[in-house]
């Protein structure tokens, strides 16, 4: 089950906790992986760890031209892009009343607009191949909202609406588009929280713990697999029951 032998996957934000786990899971299932991110060093380290079938494809997602060039670079390196995982994202938290245009725009640009550009860039070859998987990593916050994250929540909710619309357009061509919405996941970002903060978060989660990146990667692996061919336009919530949607 979930065999991706012969498939090529492009993963953005592969230097991060969740992105790295996604890359490892798809690679373990037999896929060739294209690791994209802004920081080259961790990408190189991950590629070295994976060994064969791993390519490093640095890209600054706030640079529109670089984003447009990424699908072509990925196809040149791997042969094709059969699976696209838009995982990269940034936060610039701020109280809404104080939020600057720049804080708003930079988050929208990286999280939402770059995702749109990458989806658009892989669409033509996927249409020709009559097979494709688009998996956009949204967030629980896109569905529930979160104080201080007006920009981030808007970008993540935007990804869901976009994913559904893409799913409609290309479903008849063997291409699926889905979102995965993680809840609180233990990554280097959440490690910075104090024990007290973690405790307060955990009481809001029926599973009484944070998720781990492998649990997000497993959801992505499923949606990328041939077995998930009939699942499209959906959002898979992986949040320990924190929001039952």
């Amino acid at each position: 089950m979930f065999d991706l032998t012969g498939k090529c996957a492009l993963i953005t934000g592969a230097s991060g906790g969740i992105g790295g786990s996604i890359a490892k899971a798809l690679h373990a299932a037999g896929a060739t992986v294209g690791l994209s991110g802004t920081r080259v060093e961790p990408l190189e380290a991950l590629a070295a760890e994976l060994g064969e079938r791993a390519h490093v494809l640095p890209c600054n997602l706030s640079d529109a031209e670089a984003v447009d060039a990424l699908p072509k670079a990925a196809a040149a390196a791997m042969g094709s892009v059969d699976i696209l995982v838009n995982n990269a994202g940034i936060t610039r938290d701020q109280l809404f009343m104080r939020m600057s245009d720049d804080e708003w725009q930079s988050v929208i640009d990286v999280n939402l607009t770059s995702t749109m550009r990458l989806c658009r860039g892989v669409m033509r070859p996927m249409m020709k191949a009559r097979w494709g998987r688009i998996i956009n990593i949204s967030s629980i916050v896109g569905a529930t909202g979160n104080p201080g994250q007006v920009n981030y929540a808007a970008s993540k909710a935007g990804m869901v609406g976009m994913t559904k619309s893409i799913a409609y357009e290309v479903a008849s061509r063997g291409i699926t588009a889905n979102a995965v919405a993680p809840g609180f996941i233990a990554t280097p970002m959440t490690e910075k929280l104090t024990d007290d903060q973690k405790e307060k978060i955990n009481v809001q989660i029926p599973a009484a713990r944070m998720g781990n990146p492998e649990e997000i990667a497993a959801a992505v692996l499923y949606l990328a697999s041939p077995e998930a061919a009939y699942v499209t336009g959906s959002t898979l919530h992986v949040n320990g029951g924190m929001a039952m949607l």
């Binding site: 033509r124 249409m127 020709k128 357009e169 290309v170 008849s172 061509r173």
Partner: protein
Amino acid sequence: MSDVADRVKKIVVEHLGVEAEKVVENASFIDDLGADSLDTVELVMAFEEEFGIEIPDDAAETIQSFGDAVKFITEAS
């Protein structure tokens, strides 16, 4: 019929699964040949590949019928 027309017709017949006799000069891809908007995009992609040309999006939108396609490609190639 010109070589271009033959090749365009072959693509249209294969892609839309219609009978060759229906692919006439004024046949509209959408109204007469049962294409949806995504089919028209794919037809343009197939034309680009077959003839080794680039059809920009604004030009692609003007290609509504078999005759439009033959005319555009003849002029472009």
